[in-house]
């Protein structure tokens, strides 16, 4: 019996070796938050091209929905099942970097042939570098743009944001005016916050564009900026649009831009892929300027390698491959690049099959002049502390200044 078992075991092992060839294939697990078929197809192509230098490496992309992404990633890390590499959002970066769970990619990138690390501007890398350590490489430096429903603008007989921008008249005052006119003439909402979540999970996406256009910011050097006069003026304008003009979709209501219920919204160009299903004419324009001039706001995401992953060196090599000039140019159709050479090339503005080059030029400008959304080591706690105070702001009878002072009182101990 023992002999028979022995023969069986030996033959199984031999058969396994023969089938697997001399070298066993290696899998890299890569977490992303996109479920878009077009995005995943492009990522698979990049993984396939990695096989030219690493024929036995398979990269498996695993989609985790954006809303739970950071949380589920943390569980995988804590549960001893870390991915080898993954995407990371800007607001999570400082927390993960401080926890020492991200690998230093600097040495691998510097050593990669033809990589040209200096092609990434210091501003673009700001969030991902501390001292000499490179925690991640941004693959998407995507400014927030105004998406508008041209059909509704035509119906209301007002100039579109793009036309106003081209005349140099696209500012916060005009924004309020056209939103009000569209509401009045078409009965549809003038503006919807990003994905309709500006009052809850996307507070920063709702507040930061106008606050920066007025010259304020969320916080700087450990001090809260929400109660500065610039921020108060910006939010007072939004408040007026919500409760007096009734041109912005108010809290508790739904007014989906993508289904034609709102004339404008804020989003990033990766979302333009959704516009092909929209049954209306549309376009994109820069954010309206304010008293502080143009102040583009950028959402950034990077590729990181996890220290606890078993194949971190191989994963770092894949990052170097994925973020080389050729692949960054390829990704630029969905994810605006942080590489200067790609950003400045005509290829970028012409890369997008659904957004015309003249509109993409505004995206390039915004990347060049924009500032990334605020982030902090304690972002989750800060956002949770802010949320109830911001709720108090979105009441019709709220005193905006007082409410924003409340936000600062809650946030300041955490900064």
């Amino acid at each position: 019996m023992k002999t028979r078992l022995g023969i069986l075991a030996t033959s199984t092992v031999l058969f396994g070796l023969m089938a697997g060839g001399p070298v066993l294939a290696e899998d890299l697990r890569f977490t992303v938050w996109t479920g878009s078929e077009a995005h995943l197809k492009m990522l698979d192509e990049i993984a396939e091209s990695f096989k030219q230098s690493h024929p036995d490496v398979n990269v498996q992309f695993e989609t985790i929905p954006a809303a739970d992404y950071t949380q589920k990633l943390t569980f995988q890390l804590a549960g001893g099942n870390p991915p080898d590499l993954g995407w990371m959002m800007e607001d999570a970066a400082p927390t993960f970097a401080a926890a020492n769970v991200l690998m230093d990619l600097g040495p691998t990138l510097q050593a990669a042939e033809g990589y040209d690390y200096a092609d990434y501007s210091e501003a673009a890398m700001g969030l991902w570098v501390s001292g000499e350590t490179v925690h991640g490489v941004p693959f998407s430096t995507s400014p927030f743009m105004i998406f508008y429903n041209k059909t509704l603008f035509d119906e209301a007989e007002v100039e579109t944001p793009l036309e106003l921008a081209q005349k140099g008249e696209w500012n916060m005052e005009k924004f309020q005016e056209v939103a009000g006119t569209v509401k009045e003439k078409t009965g549809k909402w003038g503006f919807e916050f990003k994905d309709g979540q500006g009052y809850d999970s996307r507070i920063m996406h709702a507040l930061m564009p106008p606050i920066r256009a007025y010259g304020g910011d969320a916080w700087a050097n450990g001090e809260c900026g929400f109660d500065d006069p610039e921020a108060v003026a910006a939010v007072e304008q939004l408040h007026e649009m919500v409760f007096e003009d009734k041109s912005i979709v108010p809290p508790g209501e739904q007014g989906d831009y993508f289904s034609g219920s709102s004339a404008m919204t804020i989003n990033q160009i990766s979302r333009a892929s959704k516009m092909s299903e929209a049954g209306f004419d549309w376009g994109i324009a820069p954010l309206p300027s304010g008293p502080a001039g143009e102040a583009p706001v950028i959402g950034q995401a990077a590729i990181v390698v996890f220290e606890r992953g078993g194949k971190k060196d191989l994963a770092a090599e894949f990052v170097a491959h994925m973020t080389n000039k050729e692949n960054v140019a390829k990704m630029a159709q969905f994810f605006p690049p942080a590489r200067k050479s790609v950003l400045e090339s005509d290829a970028f503005t012409q890369a997008n099959s659904i957004i015309p080059a003249e509109q993409m030029a505004h995206v390039s400008d915004a990347i060049a002049n924009g500032k990334v959304l605020p982030s902090h080591e304690r972002s989750p706690q800060i956002l949770a502390a802010m949320a109830p105070k911001v709720d108090a702001l979105w009441r019709a009878d709220a005193d905006v200044k007082q409410a924003l002072e409340g936000v600062c009182a809650a946030v300041e101990p955490l900064l």
């Binding site: 949380q71 943390t74 569980f75 890390l77 804590a78 927390t95 993960f96 926890a99 020492n100 769970v101 009052y199 809850d200 999970s201 108010p250 809290p251 508790g252 209501e253 739904q254 989750p380 706690q381 949770a384 949320a387 109830p388 105070k389 709720d391 108090a392 979105w394 009441r395």
Partner: protein, 309 residues
């Protein structure tokens, strides 16, 4: 099974049984219950003991650093953190709103639907259907219905001249909205339990009471209600535990807002553990919740026993 084994061994006549019948039965019994026992130890008792230990540590999920801090987390929650008392108050408001509403509605529905009449199955199905409906779908639909001006609920109210509030954006109304929508979702389960209990009461009791000249109310008060007491206790305990543990409904409908108006204990534990990664603190909060629910259950059982005596 035991007989079969005995016959099998003695028929072959190879040797005397190694175990006595009693021992064999015990072994078989343990073999039968062992999957459940293993599951209980691995997935219930193990984590429960672990939570007690975690609650005595400061453990950051992300950095994986854990320090033993004794009862610091408990002291923090009970004396240093003002949010905790606000959250606890919300949990009690939720339970005090939900339990009586759910139980009284369930009893009324059960009384109406416990006897056979044409269409009774249809009505029972209608009231039970929300129980098996997906919580996500339920919450999304209600969020839609409860919108400010455009919501169907407020538009219906407007027809009768009532200017409805912005249900999910005003703290007090948001609590009312989550309680009522939760009651509608879960009342069918308690209704079924009450129907089963009502159908188990012999009809003779009611007939006897009627012969004595008792009114409907008297029959309910003096005959049916006392006989329903054991079921009422079970329903009370499970509904109360359920109301303290409510999470999905809050997560999907209000996210604890507005202004932390619906931030209940289970959701707060989730935030501390899984959003801020303070597993130690979250474990201490979970232990506090466990003690509260246990205490309320024990009190209810004592009252019930006293009532019976």
């Amino acid at each position: 099974m035991a007989d079969t084994l005995t016959n099998h061994v003695s028929a072959r006549g190879l040797r005397a049984p190694r175990f006595s019948l009693r021992q064999r039965e015990a072994i078989e019994a343990w073999l039968f219950v062992s999957p459940t026992v293993v599951g209980f130890l691995l997935f219930f008792l193990g984590p429960l003991v672990a939570v007690v230990y975690f609650s005595l540590t400061e453990w950051n999920l992300l950095t994986q650093q854990s320090t033993f801090v004794g009862i610091d987390n408990y002291v923090d929650a009970l004396s240093r953190n003002p949010d905790f008392w606000h959250v606890l108050r919300n949990s009690f408001v939720f339970a005090l709103g939900l339990v009586p509403l759910n139980m009284s509605l369930a009893l009324m529905l059960a009384l109406a639907l416990s006897r056979p009449f044409r269409g009774v199955v249809f009505f029972r199905t209608i009231f039970f259907a929300p129980v098996v409906t997906s919580a996500v779908a339920w919450a999304i639909v209600w969020k839609f219905l409860l919108q400010g001006e455009a919501g169907a609920v407020n538009q219906l109210l407007a027809v009768v001249g009532i200017d409805g509030p912005n249900w999910l954006r005003e703290p007090d109304w948001a609590m009312v909205a989550v309680i009522v929508t939760r009651v509608i979702k879960m009342v069918g389960l308690n209704m079924i339990l009450y129907i089963a209990a009502l159908q188990a009461i012999p009809r003779d009791y009611e007939a006897a009471a009627r012969l004595e000249g008792a009114s409907n109310w008297q029959i309910f008060r003096m005959v049916i209600w006392p006989l329903l007491a054991p079921t009422t206790l079970v329903i009370f305990v499970i509904t109360m535990i359920g109301s303290f543990k409510v999470f999905d409904h809050i997560y999907l409908m209000t996210g604890g807002g507005p202004e932390n108006g619906t931030l209940v204990l289970a959701f707060y534990i989730y935030e501390q553990g899984f959003k801020f990664f303070n597993v130690g603190y979250a474990s201490a909060l979970a232990m506090i919740m466990f003690v509260i629910v246990l205490a309320l259950t024990v009190v209810q059982m004592i009252l019930r026993r006293r009532d019976m005596q």
